[in-house]
Amino acid sequence: MSRIFANKWHQKALRRAWLIGSLFGLTAVGSSGCSIMMGKPPTDALFRAEQSVRAATEAKAGQLAPVDFRNATEKLERSKRAMAAKRYEEARRFAESAQVDAELAEAKAEAEIARQAAQELRRASTAFRLKPGAAWDSDIQGSGQGVNKE
């Protein structure tokens, strides 16, 4: 009789231990899974993307490199939306892409300004050479300033 009781008690304890063990296991797997899926919020990447878009805006990339600038702003918005939905991996990728698109837009805008300045100066220089004795126009000399930045 006592043997049967002990056996029953043993089975119950075993079942309980198994239940607790599996609960612990599930919690561990679940939380690690969540951290893998969600990761950390990419605040740095988003900050850098915002800075690059701001710099591109100041460089008039909206007018001089509209396609890349639009890519950058759209990706920045999508990054913010993904961030709000806690899809951090997606948010990081959009932020990094937005940053590089904004940098390209800014570089294109600056190159366009330099190209226009060089063209203007070339035209002015040709006109000057065709008119012997003409004074070197201070306006012409002034063009192309600010394109030599590193």
């Binding site: 990728r93 990094e96 892409s97 590089v100 698109d101 940098e103 390209l104 570089a107 294109k108 600056e110 190159a111 330099a114 190209r115 300045a117 060089a118 100066l121 070339r122 220089s125 000399q141 063009s143 192309g144 394109v147 030599n148």
Partner: protein
């Protein structure tokens, strides 16, 4: 010829073929975006204007490309490698545009220094 009479039996032949197939397959798997980024980068490296005027920008592109290639070799993470390949390709474009700007700036300096 019956397989079990030869040097290797039927199972050994199958296992070895499978192993050979997997190892060759693993080495050959390619990522088209990564290959494109590598091609674009190599072309820029052959361009004297880019090398001369945008060395730093080109190095940045090379760094992104190395990151993508390393990840592809180690983990075969298709999405992340595609993302890094995009970054590398855009950085090459930045290097090209930077070189164009500096060439224009150089021309401006020359035109200004004309007598």
């Amino acid at each position: 010829m019956r397989a079990h009479e030869g040097f290797l039996n039927q199972w050994e032949v199958t296992a070895l073929s499978l192993l050979a197939f997997i190892s060759v397959g693993c080495g050959v798997v390619r990522h088209p975006d990564l290959e494109w980024a590598r091609e674009v980068y190599e072309r820029a490296r052959q361009d004297p204007q880019v090398v001369r005027h945008a060395g730093v920008a080109l190095d940045k592109a090379g760094h992104s490309l190395s990151q993508a290639e390393e990840l592809w070799t180690k983990e075969k993470d298709v999405t992340e490698v595609g993302h890094l390949a995009y970054i590398a390709e855009k950085r090459v474009e930045i290097a090209r545009v930077t070189a164009q700007r500096r060439t224009a700036a150089e021309e401006i300096q020359k035109l200004k220094s004309l007598p």
